[in-house]
Structure formats: structure tokens, C-alpha cells
């Protein structure tokens, strides 16, 4: 076959001279074997954190959002910070599965499955915050345009908050469908390897009777391509609309046209950091080093440099425009960010988001697993602070100096945030034991192009 050969200058993406059968064995091993000690330790920690979150959330529901530190001036605080942070993390999964598919980047195939799973879990965590921020979550169906008994009053389609309802629900369901359709062939592989009848039955149900005929594969590939084409503008629109929640207001520090691209770049930046954090642990624990190679980590680090630099430029542009606009309220908002009472949040953001990713210009650091892991944690923290700085510093000194206040979270709010981290990792750990964490079928189709033994020839 002539089309099967890759340029000799490319490094292999699959190491260890694999055969198709060996790949099946390697990737099904975590599902078929018993969980090891590290899995159980992580699971217990994550599950405990999740339970703590549920307790704090129950307290909030019973008491009302007065249990939080948010007040009249700082009405959006810790909760919306977390919402934007989690949604942003989700964006890397869609970028890897959709945008890199359109660009025909083959290295995405080793990481897309788990990155998409991460997207779904992150969006679940994100969704919790606005749902409970409404204060009376049992009335949240009011957010949908349904005819109601209070007179035919409809939802407000002029409001970015309603756009968010549509954007997040579309994003969540489309990501879920994209992820699950991709899983079908791999679930069929697991089904056909199952020994016990109970497992065979369950995986048989989950695999939807996948048989892998030429016609199925033909349609499958077309569906993946079209879904990628639909998801690409979708993912950009979701964070654009999230940024509209801020940008369409008149609050100094929020009312800027740079927000949509700045938020999208920030989202991808934080998402890749989370993918790296997860993948570096997962490749070790599930022994997938031959599939998620140093080259994969290096390529992701390059995306971190790019998006991190875009975010850095955006910070500086915001500052410049605040000065250049001549609007003193805007100027004050930005001076207050830098040197006001929340200076420490601002400078943590600057250090973590603008300075640390620039270390990846050194090849030694971007090919080092340890350095990547540490920097990815820094980026996760930095991006959380970015949302905190945007929300809290812009609000806490608003139009009337008499209503200027400080904001600090209560342990209930912190507990809910810790709980969502617990929920995220609980879901991810269960995913790693139940579903194939690597898109097996896709990866097999590139073995002869990028497998190490084929490139040697």
C-alpha cells in the first residue's frame, strides 16, 4: 500500500513494535484486570472529597445561598469562578477530538478518548454551579422556554445568561454523543473478549451491536468528520457566550470586546494543562507509556506555549486599552486589580499563566515528565485565579464607594469546589476501569504509518 508510509523525519507515535493484538491486550488490560493499590487510594480520596461536596451542597440547598460568602456587591464570586474554570477545562477535549481531527493531527488519537471523557466530567462539574447559584434549584426549569401557568411570560432571549443555558446544554449533549459514538467499536472489542456472561451482556448492551462492516466504518468516519466540523464552531461559541455573560454588561473590567478570543484561548490553555495533569498520571498507572509518549507530551506543551502566550498578550492588551480609552473608571478597575487589596490574586495569575508556560521554550523542560506535571498544575491554579480576578476585583469596588466590600469564601463554598474536584476524579477513575481509555480502533488504523517497527524499515 503506497499511502501507508510516513515521512522518515517523523518520530513514531506508537513505540514498542506492537501488533494489532498486542494493542488490544495493552489497552483492555486495565478493564479486565483488578484495580491496583494506587487506583484504590486515589478513588477513596476522590470519593471522600465528593461526599464532602455533597454535604456542603445539601447545606446550601437547605439554608439558601446566604451560606456562601457572596454579598450584595460581589454577587458572583467563587461559584461563577468555578463554573468558568470547569467549562474552560472541558474545552481541551473538544479541541483535541474535533479541531485536531480536522487538521489531521494523528497524535491526537492516543489522547482524544480520555480528553473527551474529561470534557464531559468537567461540564458536569461546571453545570452544578449556575444550577445552585439560582438559590432555588427546584425552580431551574424556569430557564427553559416552556409555556407556564404564570401568564404567558417567556424567557428573555436578549440575555447572555439564557444563551449560556442553550450553549452549555448543546455542548454537553453533543460532546457526549461524539464521545459515545467513538466508543462503540472499542466497547465491541471489550465485549468480544469478555469471559463471564454478565460482563458480556453489559458490554453487549453498551456496544449497541457494533459489527464493524465496511459500510458501518464508512458511515462512522463520515459521522466523525461532520461531528468534528459541527463541534469546532460549537466549542468556540460556548466560551464566547460564557465571556458574553461578562462582556455585555457595563461593569468596568468586564465591558471589553477582547473577551471572546481571550476566554477561548484561556479555556484551551487550562484544558490542556488538565489533560497533561491527568495523562501523566494515567500513562504511568495504566502503563500506557508506549502509546502516550514523550512526543505527545511535547506536542501538548507546544499548544500550552501558544495559548499561554495569547493569554499573556490579552492581559497586556486589556491594560493598554484601559489606559488608552481615557475612561477613568476602567483605568481604576485595572489599577485596583494590580495594586488593590487583591493584588496577590492578580500576581499569582500573572506568574502562573504568563511566566511559567514560557519555560516550555526549553526543550529539556517540555520533554521532561516531571517539569510538565508541575507546570501543568501551575497553569491550572493560574487559570482559576484569572477567573477569580476578573469576577471579584471588578465587582468588589463598583459604582458606589459606599457599597465597596471585600469578599472571602466560606468553608461551604470551598467545600463545594473541593467536592466538584472529587466528583471529577471519581468519574475519571471509574471511566479508566470501565471503558478503553485510548481510542483503540482509531489507533490501530495508524499503526502501519507511525508504529516504531514500520518506521525503522
Amino acid at each position: 500500500m503506497s499511502g501507508n508510509h510516513e515521512s522518515v523525519v517523523r518520530d513514531p507515535l506508537i513505540l514498542g513494535d506492537k501488533t494489532y493484538h498486542q494493542m488490544t491486550e495493552d489497552i483492555c488490560r486495565p478493564i479486565e484486570g483488578k484495580a491496583n493499590k494506587y487506583w484504590w487510594i486515589s478513588f477513596v480520596i476522590a470519593f471522600t472529597a465528593m461526599i464532602w461536596g455533597i454535604i456542603c451542597l445539601s447545606y446550601t440547598i437547605g439554608t439558601g445561598i446566604g451560606a456562601w460568602g457572596a454579598n450584595k456587591t460581589v454577587g458572583w464570586a467563587w461559584d461563577i469562578t468555578n463554573f468558568v474554570w470547569w467549562i474552560g477545562i472541558g474545552h481541551a477535549g473538544t479541541l483535541i477530538s474535533a479541531i485536531l481531527l480536522l487538521f489531521r493531527q494523528r497524535w491526537r488519537m492516543s489522547i482524544n478518548r480520555s480528553a473527551e471523557a474529561m470534557t464531559i466530567f468537567a461540564v458536569i462539574c461546571a453545570g452544578l454551579f449556575p444550577v445552585f447559584h439560582t438559590g432555588r434549584p427546584w425552580l431551574d426549569y424556569w430557564m427553559f422556554p416552556i409555556a407556564n401557568q404564570f401568564g404567558s411570560l417567556w424567557v428573555n432571549f436578549n440575555s447572555p445568561l439564557l444563551w449560556d443555558v442553550f450553549a452549555i446544554s448543546t455542548y454537553f449533549t453533543v460532546s457526549l454523543v461524539f464521545w459515545y459514538l467513538g466508543l462503540l467499536p472499542d466497547l465491541a472489542t471489550v465485549r468480544d473478549r469478555c469471559v463471564t456472561p454478565a460482563k458480556k451482556f453489559i458490554y453487549g448492551l453498551l456496544a449497541f451491536g457494533w459489527k464493524g462492516t465496511a459500510r458501518d466504518w464508512h458511515r462512522f468516519e463520515e459521522v466523525s468528520l461532520v461531528l468534528a466540523g459541527l463541534s469546532t464552531p460549537l466549542v468556540l461559541s460556548v466560551h464566547t457566550i460564557v465571556s458574553f455573560d461578562f462582556a455585555t454588561s457595563i461593569v468596568p473590567g468586564w465591558h471589553t470586546t477582547i473577551f471572546p478570543p481571550y476566554f477561548v484561548a484561556g479555556a484551551i490553555f487550562s484544558g490542556f494543562a488538565m489533560v497533561l495533569t491527568l495523562m501523566i498520571v494515567a500513562r504511568k498507572v495504566l502503563s500506557l507509556e508506549e502509546y502516550i509518549t514523550i512526543q505527545h507530551i511535547e506536542l501538548m506543551n507546544k499548544i500550552i506555549i501558544l495559548t499561554g502566550s495569547i493569554v499573556g498578550v490579552a492581559y497586556i492588551t486589556e491594560f493598554f486599552i484601559a489606559w488608552y480609552s481615557g475612561v477613568q473608571y476602567e483605568q481604576y478597575a485595572f489599577m485596583n486589580r494590580m495594586f488593590g487589596p487583591y493584588w496577590w490574586a492578580y500576581w499569582s495569575m500573572m506568574t502562573c499563566n504568563v511566566i511559567t508556560p514560557q519555560l516550555f521554550w526549553f526543550k529539556k523542560l517540555r520533554t521532561s515528565v516531571m517539569a510538565t506535571f508541575i507546570i501543568s498544575i501551575f497553569v491550572n491554579i493560574g487559570m482559576w485565579f484569572e477567573r477569580f480576578v476578573i469576577i471579584v476585583t471588578s465587582l468588589h469596588r463598583d459604582f458606589l464607594p459606599s457599597s465597596w466590600v471585600m469578599y472571602s469564601p466560606t468553608y461551604i463554598e470551598v467545600g463545594i469546589f473541593v467536592g466538584t474536584i472529587g466528583l471529577f476524579f471519581t468519574c475519571f477513575l471509574i471511566f479508566a476501569r470501565v471503558f478503553p481509555v485510548i481510542a483503540l480502533a482509531e489507533l490501530k488504523s495508524i499503526l502501519k504509518r507511525t508504529g516504531s517497527q514500520y518506521l525503522k524499515k
Binding site: 500500500m1 499511502g3 501507508n4 494489532y20 493484538h21 488490544t24 422556554p145 404567558s152 411570560l153 417567556w154 432571549f157 436578549n158 440575555s159 444563551w163 442553550f166 450553549a167 446544554s169 448543546t170 449533549t173 453533543v174 454523543v177 459514538l181 462503540l184 467499536p185 465491541a188 472489542t189 465485549r191 468480544d192 473478549r193 453487549g204 448492551l205 453498551l206 456496544a207 449497541f208 451491536g209 457494533w210 459489527k211 464493524g212 462492516t213 465496511a214 459500510r215 458501518d216 466504518w217 464508512h218 458511515r219 462512522f220 463520515e222 459521522v223 461532520v226 461531528l227 459541527l230 463541534s231 464552531p233 460549537l234 461559541s237 458574553f244 480502533a441 482509531e442 490501530k444 488504523s445
Partner: protein, 177 residues
């Protein structure tokens, strides 16, 4: 009554060459089951190009129309409200504020409509039993489906498949040799 023969192959390149040579000998290759998509096999098997992208487009414009109808009815026709001084007397004047929702509903309908169509068209639903002629067809084996109309030619076709590189040949759930 046509007989269905399964030729089991170990490698997709051997399989592709086999299909070409078998077709040259007048053997009817109906389908292939494989653990991953094989590029270029659609042409060999004369699989017609799927129209699922058109389906997606149709669902997409349905979504657009629904969204426009909904926003027009709710915000302009049924209960117009002056919100922040935004013009709400004419649909086209208020339209910019409705674009995000229209876009999201377009994507929603296009994606889900296409996904459902794909599942129904390929008969993929929970509870469906997959016809798996060889247990490793989702692992590393490639199965070629051949139909033989004339039973007298059965042995001839079997030997043709074997000489084309198949490791095993099966006759519809019965092992041949």
C-alpha cells in the same frame, strides 16, 4: 440459494490484494468486517458514498428554522417586552440578540439528528446482537464475506480464497477446514 462464505485474513493489506484478485476471478465480495476502518476498501467493495452529511444539513436547517420561529413567537409576537431599550417591535431589529440561540439549536439538531440517523441506518441500538463470524474480528482479524450462487462452484471459490492469503475459510457458522 446463495451460500455465504467467510474468509479470515490476518492483515488488511493481504485482504485488499485478495479482494482485487478474487474480483478478477468473478467472485462476489459482499462485505468486510474489520477491527478498524481500512482506507480505500469502500471503492473495492463498491460501497456507495453515504448521504449522512446531507441528512445532517437537513436537520441543521430544521434547527435554524425552529429557533427563528421560537424567538419570533416568544419575543416579538406573543409577549414583547422592552429589555434594556433593545428594539423589539420588528423581528429583524431584535435578531442580532437571537443569533447565539439560533446557532446553538442548529448545531444541536444537526448533531443529534445525524447521530440518530447513523445508529438507525447501521442498526446499532442497545440490545442488538452483533453478527460476529469470528471472535477476534474486533481485535485483529479481517473477515471477508463472499456469496456463492452456484453450489457446484463452492469448492473452487474456497480454494481461491485460501490461495489469496486467507488463514481460515468458514461456511456460515460451520468450519470448513
Amino acid at each position: 440459494m446463495a451460500k455465504r462464505i467467510y474468509g479470515i485474513y490476518e492483515d488488511e493489506e493481504v485482504l485488499m490484494d485478495a479482494i482485487t484478485s478474487l474480483k478478477g476471478n468473478g467472485v462476489v465480495c459482499k462485505d468486510v468486517q474489520s477491527p478498524f476502518p481500512i482506507h480505500g476498501i469502500d471503492k473495492l467493495l463498491d460501497v456507495p458514498r453515504t448521504r449522512i452529511a446531507i441528512v445532517s444539513f437537513m436537520f441543521g436547517i430544521t434547527g435554524t428554522s425552529l429557533a427563528l420561529l421560537m424567538t419570533w413567537y416568544m419575543m416579538i409576537s406573543d409577549w414583547p417586552i422592552n429589555i434594556g431599550g433593545k428594539p423589539n417591535m420588528m423581528f429583524y431589529m431584535n435578531l442580532p440578540a437571537f443569533i447565539p440561540v439560533t446557532f446553538e439549536l442548529t448545531v444541536f439538531c444537526a448533531a443529534h439528528g445525524m447521530a440518530l440517523t447513523f445508529l438507525l441506518r447501521s442498526k446499532l441500538l442497545p440490545g442488538v446482537t452483533a453478527p460476529i463470524p469470528h471472535p477476534r474480528v474486533t481485535d485483529d482479524k479481517f473477515v471477508l464475506h463472499v456469496d456463492v450462487k452456484d453450489e457446484n462452484k463452492l469448492n473452487e471459490v474456497v480454494s481461491l480464497i485460501k490461495s489469496s492469503g486467507a488463514s481460515e475459510v468458514m461456511l456460515k457458522s460451520m468450519q470448513f477446514s
